[in-house]
Amino acid sequence: MNPAEKSRLPVKIHRRVSLILTEDTPLAEEIRACRKLDQDILGRLSDRVLLIRPGRVEAIVDELRRMGHTPRVISSPE
């Protein structure tokens, strides 16, 4: 194996993932505590990372806004 090949990192890629990344754990807990939001959350990757059910991003954004949050939606590279 040549050095270049050796330095390549073996990874698995998950494409088209929709997720919420919160600033802190209590905020993620608050989101999960809301029944309307929780039904669109598929699961939790970590204390601050929640996976969104496919196709439910808009519903989540609307509900968060309704709750008074100001989520930043990242659709493309910044």
């Binding site: 090949e5 330095s7 390549r8 990192l9 073996p10 990874v11 698995k12 890629i13 998950h14 494409r15 088209r16 993932v17 929709s18 997720l19 919420i20 990344l21 919160t22 600033e23 905020l27 989101i31 598929l42 699961g43 939790r44 990757l45 970590s46 990372v49 996976l51 969104i52 496919p54 991003v57 989540i60 954004v61 968060l64 949050h69 100001t70 989520p71 930043r72 939606v73 990242i74 659709s75 493309s76 590279p77 910044e78």
Partner: protein, 702 residues
């Protein structure tokens, strides 16, 4: 001179020529080229396209057209757009010439001066038979090649001359042209906050209509107005939709995007508004909001007719609004040659053209008004360009410590209107306008693509005084609040095999955000440097979950298939199992009493675990794991002293169970050849067997 946007139309011309019926192409060639040779169709198309861009040739052919067709082209030339509905063309023809217009339209087809905007789908195109029945069912958009319209402007035609008047007082008024741009900007904000639902007939629901009729911003009185048009709120919404500032999607009118025409000087924006006004179909000055029409809106023809009529009067001449209205209503077929004129003429000229800065107004006797085209109006109709308005960013606002922005109209430019509308909320529209800043409006600004510094820059550049410190601090605080919750719509998660490799990926800049010890986020897959990674597997988030776990023989270890696993598997596994050193077998998780009890003490139940494992491992929780998961003292397990009687064959066991003497001594059958006997009964069993000549061997196992 106003420049018509030619490029897209040139492409469209080539497209429609390619779709033309060959016989019709030859008709055009006969009229336009006076062709004597029999050229192939492709040659004909090229030659026709070239001829339409040849000014001397176009001039000669224009002179050959019937007068009605020439006048139609001159009216269309003031439109700043070369397209329109067939019905409008026919109405203009009827207004500018007493003879039937169909002959003139036929001439325009035959000279190649009129084409359909939409290329026919499955058949070669040729001009339709223009009978009334056809028009009822088919009212296509047509266009005139822009070079033809340019030349048509120069034709010397006799236009009707209206009586000239002088104002009875020297009070000449010209609007600043900002009334509609400000309202359109406000409509973007209003609809962005509360989208409007549409009925199947593209009307608004009653509640929405009431809201629009009562909206204080959209219906605010004109700062320098003569007449307020009817249903102003609905008109602005329809206009903004035609302009692309609002969009209709899935039965709802929503906020669209700010296009480039908001980055130009005001006259250019007004020209765009004029072009879009011709697309406003649900509102007219005469009756206001009227979405359910049986016939096309006649004002699509009236707007250019009125502008052309005034443009072809001598410069600086004042015309009576009443007389302009009389001419239009007497000649336009919609009003059936009404000799009295229509009250809508005042709404049109004073309620639409005046605030749009197309005409100046002055008072006349008998409660009438006089109008004449402004420089901008003349430019729009094909005259000389007015003096270029500066794009320089003039100070025109005062930002106050209570987060209010006082806007003075003198320095307002379209760019500033669009920038402010994105992050400040409109409060009132008048000779000075008021906007406010709050967390929500700043959030919308950020969502529209602005950064906090962009907003501060807009305020600083246009403010007459220094921005109060508390406003700047609040703007920064509100902007930061947005970063508390980030939502990635479609990102890429990179899963590394170990925490050390994820750290290495971070060090190399392959990962934007570290999510867990082995997962990193990349906002866009295009940014992933494939030269630095080796793809072990990939998976689409939308794919359904697969079986990717296998139980070990002891039923307490779960091995993860890396190729089939999805993002959630390991996150969820960790809720009831602990990761163990993977070694060469890949990632592995172990079920222990503490991990299982931990899961059960939270929201999991045994049924949930069974369901989850059936989906991911193809089998429910293993028996061993069930024993571990059982609550303290919940299982009944007894140890009892008894003897196991083993026989060589199952028939012997059957016999002992059937024989009445021994049957009552046997407590339970453990298997085909094993029976349980209570310790007290062993001597009796021994005795019974001895009676039939058999011997019971007593053995004590270690």
């Amino acid at each position: 001179m106003a420049t018509l946007r030619a490029d897209p139309w040139q492409e469209r011309l080539e497209d429609v020529l390619a779709a033309c019926d060959v016989a019709f192409l030859r008709t055009i060639a006969d009229h336009l080229l006076r062709a004597r040779s029999h050229w192939p169709a492709d040659d004909l198309r090229d030659r026709i396209a070239q001829a339409l861009a040849n000014p001397p040739l176009v001039d000669r052919r224009l002179r050959d057209l019937p007068t009605a067709a020439q006048r139609l082209l001159q009216v269309l030339a003031v439109n700043s757009r070369p397209d329109g509905r067939l019905s409008s063309f026919i109405e203009i023809l009827a207004a500018v010439d007493d003879s039937p217009g169909l002959e003139a339209l036929g001439a325009l087809w035959n000279y190649g001066f009129l084409f359909p905007v939409e290329r026919p789908a499955n058949k070669r195109w040729r001009p339709p038979d223009l009978v009334a029945e056809t028009l009822e069912a088919w009212d296509p958009r047509l266009f005139v090649p822009p070079p033809v319209l340019h030349r048509a402007r120069l034709l010397k035609l006799d236009w009707p001359q209206l009586p000239q008047h002088l104002p009875n007082r020297p009070e000449i008024r010209e609007a600043d042209g900002l009334e509609f741009p400000i309202r359109l900007a406000a409509s973007w904000q209003i609809v962005g906050t509360n989208p409007l639902r549409l009925t199947q007939r593209r009307d608004f629901y009653k509640r929405e209509l009431t809201r629009l009729r009562q909206d204080p911003l959209l219906n605010a009185p004109f700062a320098d107005g003569v007449i307020q048009p009817p249903d102003l709120g609905m008109w602005v919404i329809d206009w903004a939709t035609a302009l692309g500032l609002l969009i209709e999607r899935d039965g709802t009118t929503e906020a669209g995007v700010w296009r480039d025409h908001w980055q130009v000087p005001l006259p250019e924006l007004i020209r765009e508004l004029w072009c879009a006004l011709l697309e406003v179909t649900r509102w007219c000055p005469e009756r206001g909001w009227q979405p359910a029409r049986e016939r096309p809106n006649p004002f699509a023809a009236v707007y250019p007719l009125a502008l052309a009529l005034m443009f072809h009067q001598p410069d600086e001449v004042w015309l009576s609004v009443r007389e302009v209205g009389q001419w239009l209503s007497q000649h336009h077929p919609f009003w059936g040659h009404d000799k009295d004129g229509e009250p809508w003429a005042a709404k049109l000229l004073l309620g639409v053209f005046f605030p749009l800065r197309l005409v100046q107004v002055a008072p006349a006797a008998d409660d009438d008004w006089l109008v004449r085209l402004t420089d901008l109006g003349r430019w729009l109709a094909g005259g000389r360009r007015p003096e270029q308005e500066s794009l320089a960013e003039l100070p025109t606002m005062i930002v106050q410590p209570n987060y209010e922005i006082l806007l003075l109209r003198q320095g307002l430019a379209p760019r500033l209107l669009s920038d402010l509308s994105r992050f400040a909320r409109w409060q009132s529209i008048g000779s000075a306008c008021l906007m406010t800043l709050d967390a929500d409006s700043v959030y919308h600004g950020l969502e529209s693509g602005l950064e906090c510094e962009d907003m501060l820059r807009v305020l600083q550049r246009h403010a007459l005084r220094e921005i109060p410190e508390n406003v700047m601090t609040a703007l920064r605080t509100w902007s930061k609040k947005r970063d508390r919750v980030l939502i990635y719509r479609e990102c890429v998660i990179v899963e590394c095999t170990s925490a050390a490799e994820l750290d290495e990926a971070l060090r190399r800049g392959l990962i934007d955000v570290k999510l867990t010890d082995r997962l990193g986020l990349v906002a866009e897959e295009d940014r992933l440097d494939y030269r630095q990674i080796r793809l072990v597997a990939h998976r689409d988030y939308l794919d359904p979950p697969e079986r990717c776990l296998t139980f070990s023989d002891d039923g307490l270890e779960l091995h993860v298939d890396v190729v089939r696993s999805d993002l959630l598997v390991e996150a969820e596994l960790q809720r009831f199992a602990d990761p163990v050193e993977s070694g060469t077998k890949g990632r592995c998780f172990r079920l222990t009493r503490s991990t299982l009890r931990r899961a059960l003490s939270q929201e999991w139940t045994i049924a949930d675990l069974d369901r989850w494992l059936l989906q991911r491992a193809g089998q429910p929780l293993s028996p061993a794991a069930r024993v571990l998961a059982a609550p303290d003292h919940s299982l009944t397990i007894r140890a009892q002293s008894c003897w196991v009687v083993r026989v060589a064959e199952s028939e012997i066991a059957d016999g002992l169970l059937q024989w009445s003497s021994t049957k009552e001594l046997i407590r339970e059958r453990l298997g085909p050849t094993a029976l349980v006997v209570a310790a007290d009964n062993v001597p009796r069993l021994q005795q019974c067997l001895a009676e039939v000549g058999q011997h019971l061997v007593i053995e004590f196992l270690p």
